[in-house]
């Protein structure tokens, strides 16, 4: 009994000290967010490492993709050099935490705007639009959601696909993975009947992987993808918005599309279905 009490009190002490330590993480002296970045000389951006053609690491270990293209431009306009950007690789479910824990300044990891997410971070204006798509094997194509009843659908944790099916089709069994690569691998191994993800991603994937088709190309609402900053960082958000308007004038995102997405899509996707210029969905 004595030993038990000792154990319990030890745990309580530990928990208590954790609480005290957590209190230490108070706000550092208020300094303008943009000045902080300039002082550091590096813009820290959260991007995907496994979501081609939006954010991925190429064969030479370099970050590439639609999101990365924008990140480099932001660094160039803010710090004068497109190489003054530090990429932090994230998985879908950790995109908000990296902002909250101050690990990055901006999340540019193909982040769809949702009401739940808006409560946690501040979104700038959109630079892309997306709906859900479902990819399945050619031999057993899934062309309507009803076909999924009683079957396994592969999704990624922390994506809009997961939320959409949990809310709207609770009777579809979801098989949830952490990384895009693992999820697509599981589809190839036949662990689920189909895979749901952003249509912009599954288009590119099914084009590259023979034997798979995007049976459902548009599901759910048309969502906006936007840069996100830490809640309350209005200064940086406003700067990004001005920047997006400026970039819209030079049709920057059409150029971005040509450079990064066209090679993956070919002519199968119309840029107007994906690209958002000037931060406003028309």
């Amino acid at each position: 009994m004595k030993k038990f009490l000792k154990t319990v009190s030890l745990i309580l002490t530990l928990l208590f000290s954790l609480g005290v330590l957590a209190g230490c993480g108070s706000e550092p002296a208020k300094k303008s967010a943009i000045d902080q970045i300039k002082e550091r000389g590096k813009l820290r951006v959260a991007v995907f490492s496994d979501k081609p053609p939006f954010g991925f690491v190429d064969a030479n270990g370099k970050n590439q993709g639609y999101d990365v293209y924008l990140a480099k431009r932001l660094a160039k306009d803010l710090l004068g050099d497109e190489n003054k950007v530090e990429f932090v690789l994230v998985e879908a479910a950790s995109r908000i935490e990296v902002l909250e824990a101050d690990k990055v300044d901006i999340t540019l990891a193909n982040f769809t705007v949702t009401p739940e997410r808006k409560e946690k971070v501040d979104f700038a204006n959109p630079y892309m639009k997306v709906a859900l798509g479902i990819v399945s094997p050619e031999g057993a194509p899934i062309t309507s959601v009803d076909q999924l009843k009683g079957k396994k659908l592969i999704v990624n944790k922390g994506t809009t696909a997961e939320t959409y099916f949990t809310k709207n089709y609770p009777d579809v069994e979801l098989l949830k993975y952490d990384q895009n690569t693992e999820a697509f691998q599981a589809l190839k191994d036949g662990r689920g009947a189909a895979l749901a993800h952003d249509n912009t991603l599954v288009f590119a994937w099914s084009r590259e992987n023979k034997g798979y088709v995007t049976g459902i190309t548009k599901l759910g609402e048309l969502d906006a993808i936007a840069p996100a900053v830490k809640k309350g960082n209005t200064e940086l958000r406003d700067w990004i918005n001005t920047e997006l308007t400026k970039l819209g004038e030079e049709k920057f995102f059409h150029k971005d599309f040509e450079e990064t997405l066209k090679p993956a899509y070919g002519d199968s996707v119309n840029p107007e279905d994906v690209v958002v210029e000037g931060g406003a969905i028309k």
Partner: protein
Amino acid sequence: MDFDFIVKSIPLYVKAAEVTLELSFWGILLSLIIGFICSLVIYYKVKLLAQVVQIYIELSRNTPLLIQLFFLYYGFAKIGIKFEAYSCAIFGLAFLGGSYMAEAFRSGLEAVSKIQIETGLSVGLNRWQLMRYIILPQAFSVAIPAIGANAIFLLKETSVVSAIALADLMFVAKDLIGMYYKTTEALTMLVVAYLIILLPISLLLTFIERKVRHAGFGN
């Protein structure tokens, strides 16, 4: 802290805890069997088999469980052998745990002094009786703390099975974070859930340890 959210997610955690416990139960049980057999093979220096076991132990102890699981789940699927995630997890745990248990049992077996064995032989015990009445009781009492530690280690190791889409405790916590962004709540509940499972086991092991030590040394 959003306590409504915590209360609402308790059933999810309970269900996940069942998965964690079930996986650990089978994993630990198989580890004990594999470990015991392997330790005997090494103790008796069985020809050829002892080398195989030695290779297995080194291979299993020097690779992380996550890698072993990926190999079983994604690697084997490529060459046409497809295991369900559940069997992969139990296989993985048994593969990893077996070697740790083997080393624990071996340390016990080797701790039994030569004099004990020679004395046993001199009073005419055969090999089986020697094992049953002289070696095992003493070996067991020496090995039990290590076995207990390994059991707890294996239970904690189950936290990586979420990587192969199994809904254990870690999976649920990460899932809730991904969907509702209640990071603090989900992680706090995760820690509490593991404590609720592990504290009683830890206390039980302390109790068992004292019992077998009593048998071993009479104090």
